[in-house]
């Protein structure tokens, strides 16, 4: 029997080592390590062992998170979840000097971001829970830091969320100006939650607007017909205004939805093409900026 072929996607030595070694896997034994210390486990039952070392609790929490977030790829989600957990506990890996204040701050932001992204904002309960956890992460007191979340950290987090998305900076900048707090201000949970939700909704709105633009775009020109683009934006604005009327909420949503239906949209676009003369083509940036401005106009400023 020869050596098992080496060319595997990315040989995860550690993982392969733990497979029950039914095949003599010569290449994978790490001679530097003591082979087995199974005696420690001795007579205790496996269940007790799992409970004692905390596996049971850990998996229960992980499973609850999976069910709460319902990710599309739960296995990748779990890998991510445990990775984050491993980074958090100081016992693992980080056997060095204690991290500096700046690094600590970065870690906190990273952790908060991770929690915020666990569930889509439309899953209201899960998202709200995660927002609360993120808020706690950020406002935990340190050696020099008083507990509570300041405006600087909050703004930093908002910036990070926007930067990681595909939305262009100038498109989201007006929103940030509207919902940011002053650096030294304390940010209450309510403001934090509203800010996070608004930010995520806007990013999705921009992404959808981008998809919409793609449909309008003339691939040859890398730009869209201004008349059509403007007609779409006007329809969008009309729909958003329908949402402002005095009628009860469900009726308003229906009204807005019907205005954005494919038939009325097509009608508006058709009318625009017939009525006006072609102007300067509209670029993607312009379209996104105008679409986002419609949304941002509805956002109430903080304070």
């Amino acid at each position: 029997m020869a050596v098992v072929p080496v060319p595997l996607p990315s040989p995860k030595m550690a993982v392969e080592k733990r497979r029950p070694a039914v095949v003599p896997v010569a290449g994978f034994t790490d001679s530097g390590r003591p082979t087995v210390s199974r005696t420690a486990a001795g007579a205790e039952s496996e269940e007790d062992f799992l409970r004692q070392v905390g596996v049971t609790e850990m998996l229960r929490a992980a499973l609850l998170k999976v069910l709460e977030a319902r990710p599309e790829e739960p296995i990748a989600f779990l890998a991510h979840y445990f990775e984050n957990m491993g980074l958090r506990s100081p016992a693992n890996g980080g056997a060095g000097e204690p991290p500096g204040q700046l690094l600590l701050q970065q870690q906190r932001l990273g952790r908060a971001l991770w929690h915020l992204r666990l569930a889509h904002h439309s899953q209201r309960t899960a998202f709200n829970n995660n927002v609360s956890v993120a808020y706690e992460c950020l406002s935990a007191g340190g050696r020099k830091k008083k507990p509570g979340l300041d405006g600087r950290t909050y703004s930093e987090l908002l910036k990070r969320i926007c930067r990681d998305s595909e939305a262009p900076e100038e498109v989201v900048a007006p929103l940030l100006r509207k919902i940011q707090c002053r650096d030294h201000e304390a940010v209450p949970l309510g403001v934090f939650r509203a800010g996070m939700r608004t930010c995520f909704v806007l990013l999705e709105f921009v992404a959808r607007a981008g998809a919409l633009y793609q449909l309008l775009e003339d691939p040859g020109l890398a730009a869209a017909d201004r008349r059509v683009g403007q007609a779409v934006l006007d329809t969008l604005e009309g729909a958003l205004q329908a949402g402002d009327s005095d009628a009860a909420a469900p009726a308003r949503y229906l009204e807005a939805g019907s205005r954005l239906g494919p038939d009325s949209l097509a009608l508006a676009m058709d009318r625009a093409v017939v009525a006006r003369r072609p102007g300067v083509p509209m670029t993607r940036e312009e379209f996104l900026e105008k679409a986002a401005a419609l949304f941002i106009a509805k956002v109430k400023p903080v304070g």
């Binding site: 595997l8 040989p11 392969e16 497979r19 799992l50 070392v53 499973l63 889509h120």
Partner: protein, 331 residues
């Protein structure tokens, strides 16, 4: 983005659909077998690596057969691992027998059942001459269908047998085609002409099967495509057509198209890099490294200077799905 279907499922169904509990359970079993590792690295790190390896598909290496076939993802990962490990066999143009392919499979999965390899070989060799040589790609694509859809194929075989013996297995009433129901067993003379079953009737039964089958099935639209090209067909004819259908290969998602089977520049680079590190092999870099781990018997070369790949692709395009024996030109 939103996916209301997934979000609307009851908890338990969502977990079952994604096989979450299968992997969690397996993670715990692995952890119990390797208790010493967690004292060194910590539990979170153990789970991180486990779930990462599941995502990458390396988790099935050297595992027991029952685990390898436990989920569609495991099956696809195994097919991919088999292809990536032994790709060079195909690249060198070596032809191997069923037993030799079985040895290769056992290098990755020690208790891999011989029966499954035999069934795959039967697709390539059309049920006769089981000790014939097969090209890597012929075997791989036949094996893929047999391994990934094994439960489905078992049901198909039963349906086929029923149809052949004149029964209609689904009790579907098919007013237009009565041939399946009332056909007498053909007399010997016309046996060659009336071999197999009628394709349209066969499809109706399979469509019904796909609807209620709880294991993976090939996409019904593609099955229909396969069956709509012919009037009648045999069971193995059907399997051959499935294994050669590139749409089904794509839908399964484990292997590249046949033309790209030997093409993997990233892996080639990696191989080169690794080979340089092995002092004994440096001189024979041009030869494949895997050749050394094949069973000792070197199969006789059939056509001595093997044709380079880009030539053979042209031939591929012309070959139809009806090759009865391993065709050299298809390697």
């Amino acid at each position: 983005m939103l996916s209301p279907e997934r979000l609307a499922l009851p908890d338990y169904e969502y977990l079952a659909q994604q096989h979450v509990l299968t992997y969690m359970e397996d993670a715990v079993c692995q952890l119990l077998e390797n208790k010493e590792d967690i004292s060194q690295y910590g539990i979170a790190r153990f789970f991180t690596e486990y779930f990462n390896s599941v995502c990458q598909g390396t988790h099935i290496l050297f595992r027991e057969f029952s685990f390898i076939q436990a989920t569609p993802h495991n099956r696809a990962s195994f097919l991919r691992a088999f292809w990536r490990c032994f790709r060079t066999v195909g690249k060198n143009g070596d032809l191997l027998t069923m037993k030799e392919y079985h040895c290769l499979l056992q290098l990755l999965c020690p208790d891999f059942p011989l029966e499954l390899t035999q069934k795959a070989a039967r697709i390539v060799l059309m049920d006769d001459a089981m000790d014939c040589l097969m090209s890597f790609s012929d075997f791989l694509f036949a094996f893929q269908i047999q391994f990934y859809y094994s439960e489905f194929l078992e049901s198909v075989a039963a349906i086929y047998q029923d149809l052949l013996s004149g029964k209609n297995p689904n009790t579907v009433i098919v007013p237009t085609s009565s041939s399946g129901q009332h056909r007498q067993r053909p007399a010997l003379g016309e046996a060659s002409m009336l071999e197999g079953v009628e394709a349209s009737l066969f499809y109706q039964c399979l469509e019904n099967l796909c609807d209620r089958h709880k294991y993976s099935c090939p996409p019904p639209a593609l099955v229909k495509e396969v069956l709509s090209n012919v009037q009648r067909l045999t069971f193995y004819g059907f399997l051959v057509a499935l294994s050669k259908h590139h749409g089904i290969n794509q839908a399964l998602g484990a292997l590249p198209d046949k033309g790209d089977l030997m093409h993997d520049p990233a892996m080639d680079e990696e191989l080169e890099r690794l080979l340089v590190q092995v002092p004994g092999l440096v001189n024979s870099v041009s030869a494949s490294p895997e050749a050394s781990c094949l069973p000792s018997r070197t199969p006789p070369r059939v056509a001595s200077p093997w044709r380079p790949l880009h030539h053979s692709r042209k031939v591929d395009a012309e070959s139809d799905g009806s090759t009865e024996e391993t065709d050299e030109s298809e390697t």
